[in-house]
Assembly symmetry: C2
């Protein structure tokens, strides 16, 4: 019995009590959220989202790389979202290592140094601002006037805006 098998039993229960019907493809709230993959960051719970409300984009750090620019362009151009919310959080794993050491460690173990950067960062607020700047510089994203960034506190559940 794997963890995945256990999650599948939960999915079976979810389907048995599913009562959402056929919701439309475009998000009802016209918003896309970019957040860290961290297990303690429950995006639906935090923002009070229901099925159908918002696009949720997540990765290690909640950073904006080419893949998030791709997702945001698709979100706005094809599915009508207009606002973007970025969420970093306290006690983030990305604060605990450095890019060079991480990639050289992989090279030492596997013989291959990753072609991708780890996107590790040392300052939460500075990285939120960096990611907002990356979005503002992406001409493929039509709506860049409503982009706001936040730091979530995993110990208190509080959310603080980065100015």
């Amino acid at each position: 019995m794997t963890v995945t098998d256990d999650l599948l039993r939960n999915a079976q229960r979810y389907a048995e009590s599913f009562d959402k019907g056929s919701l439309p493809l475009p998000p009802a709230r016209h918003v896309a959220i970019v957040a860290c993959m961290d297990a303690r960051l429950n995006v639906y719970g935090l923002f009070g989202l229901s099925e159908g409300d918002a696009h949720v984009i997540r990765n290690a750090g909640g950073v904006v790389t080419q893949d998030e620019l791709r997702s945001l362009a698709i979100s706005q151009r094809l599915l009508g979202t207009r606002e973007i919310v970025l969420v970093h959080h306290t006690d983030c794993g990305m604060l605990t290592f450095e890019d060079d050491a991480f990639r050289l460690g992989i090279q030492a173990e596997t013989g291959i140094k990753p072609t991708w950067a780890s996107e590790a960062f040392s300052d939460l607020d500075a990285d939120v601002r960096q990611n907002i700047a990356r979005i503002r510089a992406e001409s493929a994203i039509p709506h860049r006037d409503a982009v706001r960034g936040f730091v979530y506190d995993v110990a208190t559940g509080g959310l603080r805006e980065v100015e």
Copy 2:
């Protein structure tokens, strides 16, 4: 009053009733889930996850690009996850357009053709298998023996494994 302001009011309520205390950084269930950003796909609800259980990685399509390989490598190497679950879904926006037309449309409008591919696909099951293959080929990800892929049905809430 923007949608973001409205979400912030929900976040305030979440903080006021927050009772999780300080959870550990590594996911308790040792699993990472890669899923589409689609608004109808409630990953926490579907898999019965609570705060602290699993890494959740999401993008347009739930596809595996360099950024997901980066996130999965960090998830396993630094934070101890060992299983990977991929989730595509029915009625996906990625089935509704073609890469060339999407990128040429952006070029026609902005003057700049994106350097990134859209990752649009035409066959859900084939794309799930393609993404499993991308993970299995990534030597920077240590644990590649427990990678399973699924298609979520947005109309019924059901989950079907891709063989």
